[in-house]
Every structure is written in structure tokens, then in C-alpha cells.
């Protein structure tokens, strides 16, 4: 139910509330009405009793009747269907209505009360006058009928009310949710490329207007930080690269000077190499900064991954030669891919460089590439000494070096950069095998990012 649309949830809650309210209303009505009905019933019994006493008095004064004996004729016609018991002051039964087989047990209750007699629910009252005690009662069946009528009414009314409430509240909820849906659609339009757009604020001063103002303020902040990070990478780039350019120009000038000593030349050559390293690290850091800011612009183009891997493998074989490494490859002749060619090249280069760097003399490097469903995958394996278990979770962390081997050159950014670049394409890099004699990483890229 958590995943239901808001308007259906509202409709359901409204319907449940309506059922509870209807039942509670009906119960209250029934209680009040029954109370009123019973009071009226008691008044009727009182009237009946008064009538009987009046008749008894009337007949006792009549010379034709025997005043000492109680006769059936005393009982008015209206009371013939009632339960009646008449006793004298001594407690002797003078009359029992035909519905009663035996005298009512004396329960000492003189007020109106309800009791069960022969499976029937009887409302009783006790009246005393002229030394006679009259107990008169009537079946409550007739007023119970009212309760049943209410119940039957509800059986019809509740579903009707329910249908009206569900349809009505769904309509009301749709009306209430409509502005929210509009906001959602408008907000979805505000993407990284169009961050300067804002949601239109309605002229009303309601909750929706308040929400839109809050959202717009959030978009303001988002746009500011987005622009800041963009400006940062451009500024950082400039302020790093210009001094490096000055350094390089100076060192190159020394190198070009034919008069300087061989020692100075050698020093300058070493410095130039360091400058290249510094520049390469700066490039990588700026790339990562852009990736973090979500501003890695992918220049997508169609190209053949096989061709790209052929070039990278060519480099790898050249680098592997002094280490006597065998570079094996199993790459199909064509692997079409739509991605940023330069970035994919960097991923492959980084992995192969690692495979060579962390290998041992006379070892093996193997590259396998395949098209798998909607993606293109290639794995790079090497016969290096493996990655210790505790280091595996940190493999893609920045400045983290798998073996902590200081003799291995590199910044420790290669793998994390490759990972960021793969992720930017909607792909991934995973560790396929980490044995003591074989390490294999697998790159998966969607055929069209």
C-alpha cells in the first residue's frame, strides 16, 4: 500500500473513516431511539395498569358482580394480549393471564424492568392499588423490530455511502494532488543542463506556494554550488597549469643552452621528467574533480573497441618487452561501442599499465574482450603477486596502491580514475579474480551509454 498513488490512499482513508462514522452514527441513533421507545413502552404499561384498576373499581361497585372475587371480565380488552398477574394483599393469586402457566416468581423488583419469560423478552411493571398488586408486562418484540429496521437500513446505506465516498474522495484527492504532480513535472525539467530554470510560483498564498518557494530556494543553492564547482575546476586548472608551463619553459631553455655543463643538462632532464609527472597528476586530479562535480562531459562517438584495444595492446607489448612479459589477447575483430573514445582509451591504458607494473619478470598479461547482451566487456588479467585480502575493499580508492610497493611508479590514481570513467558511462569495473598468482579486473560498458 506504501507504493499506492496518494489519491488512492486518500480515497481509502476517507472510505474507512466514512464506514466508522456511519456505524458509530447508527449505533448512537439506535441507543437513543431504544431508550425513548422503552420509556414510551413503560408509559403505555402504566396507562394499562391505571385502566385495569379503574375497571376493577368500577366492576366491584356494580351490584351484579361479586365484589369479593376477581373476574376475567375485569381485564380490559386492550390488556388481553399482555402478561398479567393480579395478587391480593395476602399474596394469593387472583388472576393469571392465559399466556402465563404459573405465577411470576416474586423478585422484589417494583420498578420497570426486563426479564425472560418462556423464551420471550418481557418488559414488566408492578403497580399496587386498593390492596391489589398488578404485574403487567409486554413482549419487547415490537420495539426490537426498530433496531432490526435500522440494521437493514444500514446494510443498504453503508455500501452506497462507501461508493460515493470512494469516488468523491478520489476526485477531491486528485484535485488536491494535482499541483504536486505539476511541481513534480516542472522539477523534472530542471536538469543539470537547465539549472537556471525555476518553478512558477502560483499567486495563491497556500501550502503549495510555500513548497514551491522552498524548492526554488533549494534550486538556487544547487545552481550556485554547481557553478562554483565548474568554476573551481576551470580556475584550478588554470592556476595549476600556468606555473607548470613556466617551469617547463624555463627548464627547456636550460636544456637548449649548448653552453651549460653535462651535469646541469642531466639535472634539467630529470626536472623535466618530474614536471611531466606533476602535470599528469594535475590532469588526473582535475578529471576527478570534474567527475565529483558530475561535470564529466562525455563526447560520445561510435567507434570500434577492438581497434582501440589493438593500439593499447601494442603499447603494452612495447612496455612489457624489457620485463619479458607475455601479452596475450583474445579480442574479436569488431566490437562496436558508442562512448567517449578518449576516456575508454584511458580505462584500458590504466588497467594494462597496472597489469604490467604489478607483474613479475617473465609473467603473463591477458586481455579478453566480448560483447555481452547490451554491453561490451573486457577483462585484464595479470600474473602478479595478487592483492592481499584486506586491501581489496580499498582497491578503487584514490591514492591507494594495491601492494604498497614504493618501487612501483605511479600516483595511485589510475584505478580510481578508470573506475570513475567507467561509472560516468553507466558501466562498472569489478575485481574478477584475486588469487596469489592471478589478478583479473573486468570492465563492463553499455554498448551505448
Amino acid at each position: 500500500m506504501k507504493t499506492w498513488p496518494l489519491r488512492w490512499k486518500l480515497a481509502l482513508f476517507a472510505a474507512l473513516l466514512a464506514i466508522v462514522a456511519t456505524i458509530a452514527g447508527a449505533a448512537t441513533t439506535w441507543t437513543v431511539m431504544r431508550h425513548e421507545e422503552i420509556a414510551a413502552f413503560d408509559r403505555r404499561l402504566t396507562t394499562d395498569a391505571q385502566e385495569l384498576f379503574r375497571d376493577v373499581e368500577h366492576f366491584q361497585r356494580d351490584p351484579h358482580t361479586n365484589p369479593s372475587a376477581f373476574q376475567e371480565i375485569f381485564v380490559p380488552l386492550a390488556l388481553r394480549n399482555r402478561v398479567i398477574e393480579v395478587t391480593d394483599a395476602a399474596g394469593h393469586t387472583l388472576y393469571l393471564s392465559p399466556g402465563l402457566r404459573e405465577p411470576l416468581s416474586s423478585d422484589g423488583i417494583s420498578e420497570f424492568h426486563t426479564r425472560k419469560i418462556g423464551g420471550r423478552t418481557i418488559r414488566m411493571g408492578e403497580f399496587v392499588q386498593n390492596g391489589m398488586t398488578l404485574r403487567v408486562g409486554a413482549d419487547l418484540k415490537e420495539i426490537n423490530q426498530i433496531g432490526r429496521d435500522i440494521f437493514h437500513g444500514m446494510l443498504v446505506a453503508v455500501p452506497t455511502v462507501l461508493i460515493v465516498i470512494v469516488i468523491g474522495s478520489r476526485w477531491v484527492a486528485s484535485k488536491a494532488v494535482a499541483p504536486v504532480e505539476e511541481i513534480r513535472q516542472a522539477a523534472a525539467q530542471i536538469t543539470a543542463r537547465r539549472l537556471d530554470q525555476r518553478l512558477p510560483v502560483p499567486p495563491t498564498r497556500d501550502e503549495i506556494a510555500g513548497l514551491i518557494e522552498v524548492l526554488n530556494a533549494a534550486f538556487d543553492r544547487l545552481q550556485r554550488s554547481f557553478e562554483q564547482s565548474a568554476r573551481f575546476s576551470a580556475d584550478a586548472s588554470h592556476h595549476l597549469k600556468t606555473p607548470i608551463a613556466v617551469l617547463r619553459a624555463g627548464v627547456e631553455e636550460i636544456l637548449a643552452d649548448a653552453d651549460c655543463s653535462p651535469h646541469t643538462q642531466a639535472t634539467a632532464e630529470g626536472l623535466l621528467q618530474r614536471i611531466h609527472q606533476l602535470n599528469s597528476v594535475a590532469d588526473t586530479l582535475l578529471l576527478l574533480a570534474r567527475a565529483d562535480a558530475g561535470r564529466l562531459d562525455l563526447h560520445q562517438e561510435e567507434f570500434d573497441l577492438s581497434e582501440l584495444l589493438e593500439g593499447v595492446l601494442d603499447d603494452a607489448r612495447a612496455l612489457a618487452e624489457p620485463l619479458a612479459l607475455t601479452v596475450e589477447s583474445d579480442v574479436p575483430s569488431h566490437l562496436p561501442l558508442k562512448a567517449d573514445r578518449v576516456f575508454v582509451g584511458m580505462i584500458a591504458q590504466n588497467l594494462l599499465e597496472n597489469a604490467i607494473k604489478y607483474n613479475q619478470h617473465g609473467g603473463r598479461v591477458r586481455v579478453i574482450a566480448r560483447a555481452v547482451n547490451g554491453s561490451v566487456q573486457f577483462s585484464v588479467g595479470n600474473s602478479g603477486a595478487g592483492i592481499p585480502k584486506e586491501r581489496i575493499p580499498h582497491l578503487f580508492e584514490r591514492f591507494y596502491r594495491g601492494r604498497g610497493d614504493e618501487r612501483v611508479a605511479g600516483s595511485g590514481l589510475g584505478l580510481s580514475t578508470a573506475w570513475e570513467l567507467a561509472r560516468a558511462h553507466g558501466g562498472d569495473i569489478s575485481l574478477q579474480r584475486a588469487d596469489t598468482d592471478w589478478t583479473e579486473l573486468n570492465v563492463s560498458l553499455p554498448r551505448a551509454a
Partner: protein
């Protein structure tokens, strides 16, 4: 060539003008966009070497105003990598070429002279240096009667060199052209592939090392 250098970093500007003057050009250095725009309007420069991040009017704005004022001087943009991809891709901003910082001065000089003679010739179908012939239609290489097989990188590298015989290519430039990025390993790779190429084609040598500068391909010496 009459060249205007617009670069706010004074020392870098000095290096650039010195290198250009040594190469036989005549260079004027200015440190901000405003005065450079004024100078470009008054004097006709053959080429403007333009830094992108400048105080006041930046390089992008400078280019826009320059083109609006119908000044058709060629422009070589100096940029720290990352500035370009963030704001404009390629050369859509109206520059004729761009060079990423840090660059080798030799490369700057080479690019500058390349801009002086650009867009004249049609792309050839065959490249030839001495008796070395590279057929661009099928990537077949022959030295005299001998067929030579090349790997993909060797082929790309040779093509770059043979397109401009006699021109000195720095390692960085070759890296950019062949490997499409600069990397600590690629510098070493340039040397490895140059020596492979030499082994395959040289006798007598065609690929020459120009000390501290780079490599060139030419017939003699």
C-alpha cells in the same frame, strides 16, 4: 610573422616571446585583454597567441569581440586542459588552433609556423620521404621494393612524422597526436616506438633525433 602574445603570466609571456623571436618572428607582448584588443584593432597581426584566463576581458570574450570587429588574424589559444571542455568544445570559439599548458616551446613555435602555411594543400593519398612510401589508402609501407609490416601505433606515428618531413616533433606533440593524451608512460612509449620504427625502416636512417627537442623524418642528413 607579426605576432601578438596575450598572456598575463609575465614570465611565461617572456619565454614565449623569446622563443618566437629566436624563430625569426616579431612578437609584441601584452598582459590583459583590454589593451590587446586595442592593439589588435590598430595593427594587423598575422597571429595572436591568446591565453584563455585573463584579468578583465577573458580569452573567450576577447575572441568574440575580435571576430565581431572583423579582425581576421589567426588565433592560437593557450589553455589549461579542462577550461575548454567545460565551456566550449573544440574550436567552436573561433580560434584556429589550441595548445594545452604546459607545452614545449618548440611545439609552440612549430604550431605557429604551421598556422602560417595552413589550409593550402589537399590531403595527399601517398606520403613519401626518400624511397620510403606510405600509401594512405591501404596503409601499406614500402622502402624501395621491400614491403614493411607495421603495428597500429607504429603506423600512426610514422604517418604523423611523414605528413611534415623535416619538421621537428617534440615528444609531447607526438604523444598528443598518436596517443591523444599526455602521460608519464607515453613519453617512454614515444622512444620505444621510434626505435621500433627505426629498426624496421632505417638503412640508411630517415628518422633523426634532434637533441632535447624531439624527432624528425627527412632524407639527409
Amino acid at each position: 610573422m607579426h605576432i601578438l602574445v596575450v598572456e598575463d603570466e609575465v614570465r611565461l609571456a617572456r619565454h614565449i616571446s623569446r622563443a618566437l623571436i629566436n624563430a625569426g618572428h616579431d612578437a609584441v607582448v601584452l598582459h590583459d585583454g583590454e589593451s590587446a584588443l586595442k592593439a589588435a584593432g590598430e595593427t594587423r597581426f598575422n597571429l595572436i597567441v591568446l591565453d584563455i584566463m585573463l584579468p578583465g576581458i577573458d580569452g573567450f570574450e576577447f575572441l568574440r569581440r575580435l571576430r565581431k570587429a572583423h579582425i581576421d588574424s589567426r588565433v592560437l589559444v593557450l589553455t589549461a586542459r579542462g577550461e575548454l571542455t567545460d565551456r566550449v568544445t573544440g574550436l567552436a570559439l573561433g580560434a584556429d588552433d589550441y595548445l594545452a599548458k604546459p607545452f614545449a616551446m618548440q611545439e609552440l613555435v612549430a604550431r605557429v609556423s604551421a598556422l602560417g602555411r595552413r589550409y593550402s594543400e589537399k590531403p595527399p593519398l601517398k606520403l613519401q620521404v626518400g624511397d620510403l612510401v606510405l600509401d594512405l589508402t591501404n596503409n601499406q609501407l614500402q622502402r624501395g621494393d621491400r614491403r614493411i609490416e607495421l603495428s597500429i601505433r607504429e603506423l600512426t606515428l610514422l604517418r604523423v612524422l611523414m605528413r611534415e618531413p623535416g619538421r621537428v616533433f617534440t615528444r609531447t606533440e607526438l604523444c598528443e597526436k598518436v596517443w591523444e593524451r599526455e602521460h608519464e608512460y607515453d613519453m617512454k612509449l614515444v622512444e620505444v616506438f621510434i626505435s621500433r620504427l627505426r629498426r624496421k625502416i632505417d638503412s640508411p636512417p630517415l628518422i633523426h633525433t634532434v637533441r632535447h627537442l624531439g624527432y624528425t623524418i627527412r632524407e639527409e642528413p
